[in-house]
C-alpha cells in the first residue's frame, strides 16, 4: 500500500494550531470533513471513537510519531491524513517524547487488512531518518504531499 492510497492531499495540515491530544485529533478530523470524505454528521462520533482508542493506550509510538485511528462505518475505504506540529504535542507516547508527526487513519469496520497494510507502509517509510526529518520540517501541505509521493516512488528506500 502507498500513501496515495489513503492520504487525502487536501486534508494534510502543517503548523497544527492545537497544542494537546484532543485538539490535534479535532483539527485533523475537521480537515477530513472539509475535503468531504467524512461527513459533518459523523465528525463527533469519529472524534469520540479515536479518543476512546487513545484511552486504551496511546498511539504515540515514539520518535515523535503518532498514528491515532479508529474503525468507523461511515467510510467505505481507508482514509487518512497527515499533520505536522512545529512545537510538538504531549501525546503520552511510549517514549514520553512530544509528537510532531501525525498519521490519522479511519478504516471501514470490515477491512482490518487495509489498516495493517497502512501501518506497514507508514512504519517502513518512517524508519528512514531522512524522510522522517524532512516531514517534520515541512512547512506547507504541498511539501508533505511531495515527500509522500517521493516515498511512494521508493526514493527513501533504505
Amino acid at each position: 500500500m502507498n500513501f496515495s492510497d489513503f492520504v487525502q492531499p487536501q486534508a494534510i495540515k502543517v503548523e497544527l494550531a492545537a497544542f494537546d491530544k484532543d485538539g490535534v485529533i479535532q483539527e485533523l478530523v475537521d480537515s477530513l470533513v472539509q475535503t468531504g470524505v467524512v461527513s459533518e454528521d459523523d465528525k463527533e462520533g469519529i472524534i469520540g471513537a479515536i479518543m476512546k482508542r487513545e484511552e486504551l493506550g496511546s498511539t504515540g509510538i515514539g520518535r515523535g510519531i503518532a498514528v491515532p485511528h479508529t474503525k468507523h462505518p461511515s467510510v467505505d475505504k481507508l482514509v487518512g491524513t497527515v499533520g505536522v506540529s512545529t512545537e510538538g504535542v504531549d501525546f503520552n507516547s511510549l517514549d514520553g517524547e512530544k509528537v510532531s508527526l501525525f498519521f490519522l487513519l479511519i478504516s471501514p469496520p470490515d477491512r482490518p487488512g487495509d489498516h495493517l497494510r497502512a501501518l506497514e507502509n507508514i512504519s517502513r517509510q518512517l524508519r528512514n531518518d531522512t524522510f522522517c526529518r524532512f516531514l517534520k520540517q515541512a512547512n506547507s501541505a504541498d511539501d508533505v504531499k511531495q515527500l509522500l509521493d517521493e516515498a511512494d516512488n521508493n526514493q527513501f528506500a533504505s
Binding site: 493506550g57 509510538i61 510519531i65 487488512g113 489498516h115 495493517l116 497494510r117 512504519s123 518512517l126
Partner: protein
C-alpha cells in the same frame, strides 16, 4: 551465560490481526528480557523490541509468525511471548 537461540511458531488469533495494540504489548514484554527478540513472517524479519519495526510485520488473523530469541533468557522469553499470542493479547476477539 549461554547465548542459545530459541524459535517458536505462533498463529495470530486476534480477529484484527497483529495490530498496534498487540504490537505494543509484545514490545513491552520482549523489552523486559535480555535476549534479542525477532519476529519473522515469510521474508520479513523485524526487531521485537521496536514499535516501528514491529508495525512492519503486517500479519493478519490466521497467519503464522516465528518468534526467535537469542540470549541467556531465550527459552523463557519465547514461552512468555507465545502465551501472548495464544491469549490474543487479552483482546476479546
Amino acid at each position: 551465560m549461554s547465548n542459545e537461540t530459541q524459535k517458536r511458531e505462533v498463529k495470530v488469533l486476534n480477529k484484527r490481526g497483529f495490530h498496534l495494540r498487540p504490537a505494543e504489548v509484545f514490545m513491552r514484554t520482549a523489552s523486559q528480557f535480555e535476549s534479542k527478540v525477532e519476529l519473522i513472517k515469510d521474508a520479513v524479519r523485524v526487531d521485537g523490541k521496536s514499535m516501528l519495526s514491529l508495525m512492519m510485520l503486517n500479519a493478519s488473523a490466521g497467519e503464522l509468525i516465528t518468534i526467535e530469541a537469542t540470549g541467556p533468557d531465550a527459552e523463557q522469553v519465547v514461552g512468555v511471548l507465545e502465551k501472548l499470542f495464544e491469549t490474543r493479547f487479552d483482546e476479546s476477539e
